[in-house]
Amino acid sequence: MADEREVRGTAEAKETKGMGSGVIVGVIVGIGLFMLTVQFLYMAK
């Protein structure tokens, strides 16, 4: 049976890793969305 601190530490590590990966993917998606918006506005002009 795993130590309680080890379990908590593993869970926190997973959250940090998840958040970090999410932010990186999100920034890329956000920039992409902005570029799509600009493209859309340019075409609609």
Binding site: G18, M19, V25, V29, G30, L33
Partner: protein
């Protein structure tokens, strides 16, 4: 691998990242990378040529004498959008007026010396009250020049009462003077030129104009002579008037000089159009005439921006008057702008700006 990170945290991070990425990209592209991303502004400037010197005389800038009487005339008729030819303008019983009439008028006389030495004499606007205008034309020697046909042409900046209804005072001396009017002149205006009167509005003209009338359009800079151009603006104006034109002179070794009637197109729009369309328009040497900022001596904080904008164009002389308003001149002077002082005579009330009989010489 599947359990390496928390899915919930990933989604939270992705949401935050998307927002940050979107607005971050918008922010960077509109600031840091603005110059790389936005297309360079293409100026379509025209070279209008040069003149040697310019002399501008204020014949009359006092359009009416009592603001309250004028405003009551407008209110009584139904408001600012009523046709000016149908309003019974008060022309008697006004203590501050000229011979009891509230009607005055706006007119400017210009001498532009071309590079070959020829002096072009220009009559700009013909005022409102014919009696007052005739008096001023005689006092300033304009009547004599008109009678001798020494004046080359007349420019009607726009159709407003105070710039146009005194037409008879000009035609009396020179009935076939060539006239330039802006696109947008109404049929009543052309009828008035032909000798039709509008008695309800006290607009009387018993002399038919027999000279050439040229309508200038707004699609281009209209170069009349080298260094002398007119710009026409499609602008709706109160009292059911449409269109206004104003001068651009290019004085050698000085720069561009803008001469306006009322500037209903807006002084910033005017300077901006000049910047885009006239060679050398990045720097404007002088502005003269009505700037239409506070004609009724009111003030709105947004007008402060107009005053600040003068610095952008590097204006070195401001010969304002008429519908600029005394309050605007005060604020300009307070802001350090180079407002040219006048002499407060011939019914101009204050010397804070160029008044009746004053001159602005640029050479």
């Amino acid at each position: 691998m599947k359990d390496d990170f928390s899915r919930r945290s990933f989604i939270k991070g992705m949401a935050a990242g998307t927002l940050a990425g979107y607005f971050g990209a918008a922010g960077l592209s509109s600031t840091v990378f603005k110059n790389q991303l936005l297309p360079e502004e293409k100026l379509n400037q025209v070279d209008i040529g040069e003149i040697k010197a310019l002399k501008i005389k204020v014949v009359s800038e006092t359009s009416w004498y009592d603001n309250n009487v004028f405003l009551n005339d407008v209110k009584g008729a139904g408001g600012l959008l009523v046709n000016q030819y149908t309003i019974p303008w008060t022309n008697e019983g006004v203590k501050a007026g000229y011979q009891g009439s509230n009607l005055g008028g706006f007119s400017t006389y210009i001498e532009a010396t071309l590079m070959d030495g020829k002096v072009m004499k220009i009559h700009m606007d013909t005022g409102w009250n014919s009696a007052w205008m005739e008096k001023r034309f005689r006092e300033e020697g304009i009547a004599e020049k008109l009678a001798k046909k020494e004046i080359d042409f007349m420019v009607q900046t726009h159709e407003h009462i105070d710039h146009f209804f005194g037409l008879e005072a000009t035609l009396k001396f020179y009935p076939d003077i060539p006239i330039y009017v802006p696109k947008g002149f109404y049929q009543e205006g052309f009828d008035f030129l032909k000798g039709k009167s509008f008695p309800v509005a006290n607009a009387i003209n018993n002399i038919s104009h027999r000279g050439k009338v040229t309508v200038l359009d707004s699609s281009k800079v209209n170069i009349l002579y080298p260094g002398i151009a007119l710009m026409t603006f499609d602008v709706p104006i109160i009292l059911r008037v449409f269109g206004e034109q104003a001068f651009v002179f290019n004085v050698k070794d000085k720069g561009l000089v803008l001469v306006t009637g009322c500037c209903h197109q807006g002084i910033i729009s005017y300077m901006e159009e000049v910047r885009k369309k006239v060679k050398g328009g990045e720097k404007i040497y002088a502005v003269q005439g009505g700037l239409h900022i506070s004609p009724f001596e009111d003030w709105d904080p947004q007008y402060d921006d107009l005053i600040l904008a003068f610095n952008k164009y590097g204006v070195q002389k401001i010969g304002c008057n008429h519908c600029t308003g005394f309050i605007t001149a005060e604020k300009m002077i307070k802001a350090g702008l180079p407002v040219v002082k006048g002499t407060a005579r011939s019914m101009t009330k204050r010397d804070i700006y160029l008044g009746n009989g004053d001159e602005l010489v640029i050479a």
